[in-house]
Structure formats: C-alpha cells, structure tokens
C-alpha cells in the first residue's frame, strides 16, 4: 500500500529540484521546495482545469502540463486519481527526459496503492 512518504522518493530522480504533492481540493500532502502554501492551490486549480479543457474540446486523457521558464527551471504537472504532482526541474535537466521517468514513478505508486487512496 503506497503512502505519502513513498512520494519523497521522487527526489531520487536526477534533475528534480522540487516537488509538491497536492490533493484535488488544494490541500498539500507533501513537498520539498519553496513557496508551498501559494503553490498548492495553483497546482490544484491548474490540474482540475486541464480536465475541464479536455472535456470541452473532446480530447482524450490528460497526460501532463509544462510551464516553460526563461530560467529553464520548468514546472511539470501530472494528475493521477485524486492527486496532482508538480515538479520543478533543475535548469540543466531535460523536460523530455524527465517526463517518462516521472510517469513511471507515478505508475509504480498507483500499482501499490489501493482504492486510489494514499495513506
């Protein structure tokens, strides 16, 4: 059974500077990085609205969202079950390389959790 604590392992992926795990209602569950109190509601807002956009345009499954920044410290946002995971990458890391690694990480967590709930 997966726990919130399991998410702290995401820091082991090379190229990740910060991470924020948020429930769909904006409640922060875990983080490593700055400004978490302001980022939690923003992450939930963005994640929930991705599904609204998907529905409005008749698109298929939402995969991820990328906020590209001049500093190259891009923000990557993923959704799964009732949660959103946002990651800020290191400036010298490649978003294209990180995304499949984070997808795999989330899949592993999902497989070991029950009833879509983290404990």
């Amino acid at each position: 059974m997966a726990t919130v604590q399991d998410f702290t392992n995401i820091k082991k992926i090379d190229g990740i500077k910060s991470y924020y795990l948020v429930k769909y209602d904006g409640k922060g569950l875990a983080f490593h990085g700055d400004n978490a109190d302001n980022l939690f509601p923003f992450i939930a807002f963005a994640g929930l609205n991705c599904d609204t956009i998907r529905s409005l345009l008749g698109l298929s499954e939402f995969k991820h969202m990328v906020f590209s920044r001049q500093s190259q410290e891009d923000i990557l946002l993923f959704g799964f079950s009732n949660y959103f995971l946002a990651v800020i990458k290191e400036a010298n890391a490649s978003a294209d390389d990180l995304i499949p690694k984070i997808d795999d990480f989330i899949e592993t967590i999902k497989k070991s959790s029950t009833a879509s709930q983290l404990h």
Partner: protein
C-alpha cells in the same frame, strides 16, 4: 499578425492557431472550426488564468504546454495584452516554431517598411509622405539603435519579441517626424509597456543603456 498565424498553421501537425485578448476575445483564428465558439472561448480564458496566475508565482514563464493522449495545446504571450494559442496533434518542434515566428515577423517587417503598393513593386516612391520617416529609420545610428533594442527585447521576451518589436515600431514611427532623444524615449516607453514586467523592463533598459547616444 495574420502572416505569422498563417505560417504557424502551415507547420506539420498544427490544426489551429489563434490570437486572443482576455478583454476582447478571439482576435484572429486559423483552423479549429470543429470547436464551438463558446467552448473555445472558455478554454482561452482558462489558459489565460493559468498564465496570469503562474506569472504571479514565477515571473519568467514564457509558455505553457498541455499534453493530452491525442493532442497538445500551448499558450504564450503575443504582446502585453494578447496571447497566442496553438493546437497541434503531434509534438511540435519548439525550435521550428520559434524560428517560424521570428522569420514571419521579420519578413513582415521588411514589407512593412513600405506601403503595400511599394512592397509589391519593390521600389520606393520618392514622394510618399512616409519617406522622411523611412529615411530616418535607415540612418546608420538609428538603424543600429533599433537593432540593439530588438536584440534586448528578444533577451527579455523570447521569440515573440520580433512581432512585438515590429508592431511597436510601426505604431511609433507613425507619430514621429524626427528622431531625437524625446522620440527615442517614447519608443522605449512603448516597448516597456509591452514587456509589462518590472524586472524585465529593468533588464531591457540595462541592455539598451550603452547604445542610447543618438545624434
């Protein structure tokens, strides 16, 4: 801007590109007829909220991309009040997109220095009322200064700078009868309004400061 949108729409995999203003709605749209106007309007407003809220938290956001299983959306600023949204099926080569925007904007600028008739003829009408302004722009010192300004704008705004600079320059030259300190300051003020970010404005001014000795 129509030329820029047409060029982007012609890129492989791009199904729709549009320009919108949060206050006035969609300004121009190429493709995307399969989406209803209301739904597209809601999506545009939502994307703009992503952008504006995100920019409050991170001042250096240049683009937002959404990836779905079968398609992609991206939004970037086209000017201080307008956004460009692109719908594309396959992953879009960002370098190709940036080069397309820059090339289209620069091509438009070269034509924009002439009236449509002059551009098609490829000659300058010596009696045209804009001649004096165009001659001012072509003087070596002014030409170099404008080039420095465009480069500085590119540093703080990215590829969209080419479009913003050309639009602003056209608006500015329309109200100028001589190039002097006051008219240059007016152009700088207009560009700073387009940048619309205090930190970036400061960087822009620092970058152009060494080149501001116009005589």
């Amino acid at each position: 801007m129509e030329t820029v949108l047409d060029s982007i729409k012609a890129l492989p995999g791009v199904s729709c590109v549009l320009l919108f203003d949060p206050q006035f709605g969609t300004i121009s749209q190429k493709g995307g007829n399969e989406f209803s106007e209301d739904n597209l309007s809601t999506v545009n407003k939502t994307l703009e909220k992503f952008y504006s809220w995100g920019a409050e938290l991170f001042s250096d956001i240049v683009q937002i991309r959404l990836r779905f299983a079968d398609s992609n959306l991206s939004i970037r600023r086209a000017s201080s009040h307008q956004y460009m949204v692109i719908f594309h099926q396959s992953l879009l080569d960002e370098n190709l997109l940036d080069l397309t925007i820059s090339q289209s904007a620069n091509s438009r600028s070269r034509k924009g220095d002439l009236s449509p008739d002059q551009a098609s003829a490829g000659t300058m009408n010596q009696n045209a009322p804009t001649d004096n302004r165009e001659a001012l722009l072509r003087s070596e010192s002014v030409s170099k200064l404008l080039s420095h300004m465009e480069n500085a704008l590119n540093r703080v705004m990215g590829p969209m700078a080419a479009i913003v600079f050309n639009d602003t320059r056209q608006a500015w030259i329309g109200g100028v009868d001589r190039i002097n300190q006051a008219s240059i300051e007016r152009l700088i003020h207009m560009l700073c309004t387009e940048i619309d970010d205090q930190e970036k404005i400061a960087t822009f001014k620092d970058l152009i400061a060494p080149h501001l000795n116009i005589r």
